[in-house]
Symmetry: C2
Subunit: 499 residues, 2 copies
Amino acid sequence: MDRSTRTVRSEHQAQGARPGPASLPLPPHRLRRAVAIVPIARPLAYAQAHASRFCKELMALIRFPTVSAQPEHAADLVDCARWLADHLRGIGLEHAQVSRTEGHPLVYADWLHAAGKPTVLIYGHYDVQPADPLDQWQTPPFQPAIRGLYLYGRGASDDKGQFFAHLKAIDAYLRTTGSLPTNVKVILEGEEEIGSASLLAFARQHPEALAADVAVVSDTSIPAPDRPALTYALRGSLSLELEVRGLRGDVHSGTYGGAVREPLQALCAILDGLYARGGCITIRGFYGRVRLPDPDERAYLVGVGPTNEEILAGAGASRGWGEPGFTLYESTTLRPSLSVHGISGGYQGPGIKTVIPAIAAAKLSFRLVPDQEPDEVDRLFRQHIARTIPPGVRCTVRTLDAARPVVMERGHPALRAAEVAYRRGFGASPVFLRSGGTIPVVSTLQNALGISTVLMGLALADDAKHGPNERFYLPNLANGIRTSIYFLVEVGSGVRRHA
Amino acid sequence: MDRSTRTVRSEHQAQGARPGPASLPLPPHRLRRAVAIVPIARPLAYAQAHASRFCKELMALIRFPTVSAQPEHAADLVDCARWLADHLRGIGLEHAQVSRTEGHPLVYADWLHAAGKPTVLIYGHYDVQPADPLDQWQTPPFQPAIRGLYLYGRGASDDKGQFFAHLKAIDAYLRTTGSLPTNVKVILEGEEEIGSASLLAFARQHPEALAADVAVVSDTSIPAPDRPALTYALRGSLSLELEVRGLRGDVHSGTYGGAVREPLQALCAILDGLYARGGCITIRGFYGRVRLPDPDERAYLVGVGPTNEEILAGAGASRGWGEPGFTLYESTTLRPSLSVHGISGGYQGPGIKTVIPAIAAAKLSFRLVPDQEPDEVDRLFRQHIARTIPPGVRCTVRTLDAARPVVMERGHPALRAAEVAYRRGFGASPVFLRSGGTIPVVSTLQNALGISTVLMGLALADDAKHGPNERFYLPNLANGIRTSIYFLVEVGSGVRRHA
């Protein structure tokens, strides 16, 4: 799959579609002409006229307390999935269905009557993060409320509000024209906040069901309403657990302190040894496959991405740390990294308990960039541990999950279509950014299914995703529906499948 | 206080009382002659005749669920303290009283009519460890039960059974002779398992109340019923918490991984940097005041102490680690050490949470040996952290508690008295051992109050102190009562106050 993606990428480069360093060329005229021949004014007008109803429908959707991490909400996820399937049927999509999984259900629907046109896969997730701390919410998390231009509620922006914009674009288009400008599949999952296991399994087992020319995922943020952004690269990830043992059980530090290698000490030595003094990762061969983008792209990214100062301010850090020779934005997007998320072992309550813990464990994850492969990094890590394990202790490495890095050529027609759509929907050209984060679903769509995936963020960076008083900026709902309408039209006019 | 102790020690050495390397001389003839003139046969016979009643009384004491760590048991500790005060009064002690503290009550009583004789302070603690896991007890922890030669129940050996032997020695002696061979004070606390804060405060505020020539603490173990042991040295301790911060809050590892020094990484670097490759502690000046005992004592300890193999088997470790040039028994008793008891910070649940935690903290403690001072080591540690703190993070050091190391000259008359008492009570000469552990109360008695303290263990090493099915070997109760009777007689015959 990856090889075919790479081939496509090379073809684009051969056609001279590579963008310049500091700005991106407009899409080919062919696409712009195509827009003119569709009856786009009617769905746009309909969306504007029915904004109030759309908002009420979204509020109904937010009322389902679809907290995927809390088993007591399992029935709420089923109820929400059924509501969504009904809604998809109601707006004119076909084959609307709720699919049971080992976890929470998947919701699917499609409209595949645009003969000869590409297929857009619209992805969203109807599950939400837990709502606590409840006492910090101004209004209850599952009783959506409008204050000013914001709609407040758990899931308002992550992700109910965002994917709902696409549903309403379809609604408006089908209602006013009786058809869609391109083929559409919709897949909505209920496990994004807990790892997307069921959807990833479904994608492996039924790749044909999700087959599409382009996928659109609205589950990211844009810097400001007048500053949309298209994310065209994500880092991959490899999450591991490292466990160190060396004693029969917890032993008394009075009796044994000074005689034995303590697992927690050894774990610290191992973790510290993963970094060289300057911040590089010491694992042999780790950087071997890292491929930097060309100087033009780096210069573009430096121009549009956050400055070192902005990144440090965001983290609340006094200074940067890591590989020399890169800006911090480059370090977090173009370069791989290794973070330790938690260490367990021993006593953590108040005061002291003078025990030498028998087991110490760390959870850590690598962020990976093209062309690093999680499997290979996993192997290199295990080899590093085997080579450097302190005498007197034993180590176990467990792989928790992995996702390959994702990158789309910035000249890819799907990105061009999204660029045009944003410019028309939001009235501003998006910048093109690489993200340091990882979205496993996107990695699967792009790398395993070979579907070019556009990350079309509609939420604002300060929408308090995952926090109390999560909200969605209602003008972005309207602009998002407009953008989605333009995107469907753009795709229908030009994007072809690259598989 | 410490200086006076040291002076005493020097006097003993000047008198040629220093024991030989592999055996200890008998006490002076003066003491042995003195034994003959007291009516010791009667209390010994009484104790033997009333063993069954003594055992039932101990079972009544064990029935109080005196778990000091669990606030819901506070009233049980008060009830137990009152029961003990009544019991002390009942056996003929005077001034029996329950003293309120900020925590659990202290129980005190005395008998001070042996004019011109030394005063023995008998210490014990009536609080116990939590009893869980309850499902692993064969009989309920607070319903004492006899199976074979063992009495089972929480607190049976730690410490109710052990201090009760001394109470029954007093009981038998007073009941049969109407007096005691020496002056006696009894102090029983209810906070040993949670740090002895109230007793330590009381000792600072009312040193005169505890003033004595010798203290006896039965809260340790002996290797076997026919192999008693006298512990004549304890390591001190200094417990610290080290906290590392460097971010505004937990941040996302996708967004910031690779750009900033992570507090948990920095903590690992600091902790690993505290040890040199071979296992020595790298803090400047840390070993400056460490005073090794003379070669004779080292040779004696090597002969009587556990072997490297026994220590490794006890810890379940495959090999030793630490300072070169010492046996593992020496490393754990004659040399200081540093253990990490727990690390907190970040995510420790199932799976992974890709957060860079803003705060990382470790609980650690030093074990200290003569002539290291906790205050000085505390200062050296803080200087080391200030000198080695990684750029980009801030560190906070908190001192949790401290206790100075304790050592008695092996030729001290109180130890000699205990040696004779054990030989007569148990029918076997005790070995003299240094322990790597720390007992803050002993440090206070010995170092702050200047009271030479004998650690007269009566429990067996496999009595499951702190675990389920804790027990006390009933022949050790009988032998312990006999040993205590002999000890009071020995002290009454020869030990003089060294203050």
